[in-house]
């Protein structure tokens, strides 16, 4: 089980690096846009692209933040409990997260299908087929739903085995540096 957890972590680490590089690429495009503007060339696509990058970085980034234990939790009461209480809090927190992730992914699907059906292009000079940025964004939410569910199942099993220490390390509070 710990192997699956570490695989998840490794994948999400890769996700984070990719998302970071996408941000760098986006910065480059914006800078080029600014320079071109100074020379009187209108490209003006950088704003639209930054929007898409932001959507993708967000939906994929939340997966990395999940395995890096970076989502903010108020753990005042949780800290007061013993091992078992703490694991219970962690399971409640992760189950709610998983539920929201699945529900958002479910509601996100129509957004993509509608675009696919109509073949909508963005209403700009770039005329980007909208399904491209939306699929990347949607895939992020699917991965968030999937990885949080897998993590939830593993954590329940770990709790049943009484391995509270590993549960705390995997889905507890406290940021991993």
């Amino acid at each position: 089980m710990t192997r699956i957890i570490s695989i998840l972590k490794r994948i999400n680490n890769g996700v984070a690096v990719t998302a970071g590089l996408a941000l760098l690429a986006c910065i480059t495009i914006i800078l080029v846009d600014i320079v071109l503007r100074e020379f009187g060339v209108a490209f003006s696509g950088s704003e639209e692209i930054s929007g898409y990058v932001m959507a993708a970085v967000t939906s994929w980034g939340v997966c990395f933040a999940l395995t890096a234990k970076a989502h903010v939790r108020i753990d005042l009461l949780r800290q007061k409990g013993g091992d078992k209480m703490r694991s219970l809090y962690d399971l409640i927190a992760l189950a709610s997260l998983s539920y929201v992730a699945i529900y958002v992914a479910y509601r996100a699907w129509p957004v993509l299908t509608k675009t696919l059906k109509s073949g909508a292009l963005s209403n700009t000079a770039l005329e980007v087929p909208l399904y491209i940025p939306q699929s990347i964004w949607f895939a992020g939410w699917i991965w968030f739903a999937l990885s949080s569910s897998v993590l939830l199942i593993l954590s329940v099993l770990l709790v049943l085995q009484g391995r509270h220490q590993i549960v705390d390390e995997t889905i507890g509070t406290g940021d991993e540096q």
Partner: protein
Amino acid sequence: MILFTSMGLLGLLALSIPVGIVLFLLAFGVDSFFSPFPLMRGLGQVVWSSSNNPTLIAVPFFVLIGEILLRSGVAQRTYSALNAWVSWLPGGLIHANIATATMFSATSGSSVATAATVATVATPQAEKLGYDPRLFTGSIAAGGTLGILIPPSINLIVYGFLTESSIPKLFLAGIVPGIMMALLFMLATIVLCVVYPKLGGPKQHSSWREKIIALKSLTPILFLFISVVGSIYMGWATPTEAAAIGVLISLIIALAYQALSKEMLISSLIGTVKITAMIMLVVIGAYVLNFALTAAGVGRALQDLLQGLGLSATATLLVIILTYIVLGFFIETLSLMVATIPIVVPIIAQMGYDTIWFGILMIILVEMALITPPVGLNLYVVNSARKNGNMMDVILGSIPYVLIMLLMVFLLIAFPNLALYLPDNF
């Protein structure tokens, strides 16, 4: 509905459910209990349009600037340079702490990272020179909080996004209160150290030659600040473009200080994605809750509530401020801010207050949350930078600065123009 949301917020947060997720759950609750028609069918569209946003991408850019600067050794150089300029004042190095934190956080936008960095640089000095640990550490924790008030500020971008107010205006509004608070922090330090010299430590005198040389280390960070903030107000760049320029400059600074490497860049990027995702989950959650509350008719519910309470505008404002102070003991900056915006800002607007002005007021209140126990992240960060020492030192040392923040809150209420003069006139 407002009662349901407020109680639900506190209850679910107490269960240690992630803040962003709590906001989603509350939105689902508002939808099923209070809305005449199903709102959540449009959830996908709301989430898409809130994250597909060219303004919000300024957030990761500013985070990245901070991450790069943190790893480039700028803080150490800034500290020793400012030391030459301000440590002759009563209180000595404590002023260097405040000044460095102010300046550094003006460019980095993250309060916690600022406090951590300044603490690592400053604390060895305190032990060597025999400073009283309390005021010394308290000043770092408090100084670090200024980052979210002085532009560019990630928190102000998020506030602007959620309340649909102008981000450049918010940035302008933060300048005067931010600088004033830094100066008041220093003034309080001087007064305390003159009355109780034991609280401080040895003053340090530097020659003018040293001061001039020190200026050289301040140039990069000042240049970064002026380019970013200046290009917004010259109308030359949007906040997003200014942030992109800032990233470029911070990379050049790192290169000049020979701190730029592949590993350094990768770890800065990973840190950026992590912080951005953490912020964005909360922001999208708040956006969805905002949407649900508005669609379910929060406006009327608010009017009823306020009429029922029969409080005057001032009394309502005071209740809100008190709530923030109390909540601030338990909840951290951005979460506190974002989670409460959908409920509080409509009330404020209904009462006829200016939302730009309230944004600044709210920032100061949530800054206080960073240094009030039991949950005050800056307190922990500063204390953990010391080799040994009791948390109580930092908590006690922060008290004077918490009082200054309260003073600033009342000054802002008495003289709204402290925040509004610049945005109204430029």
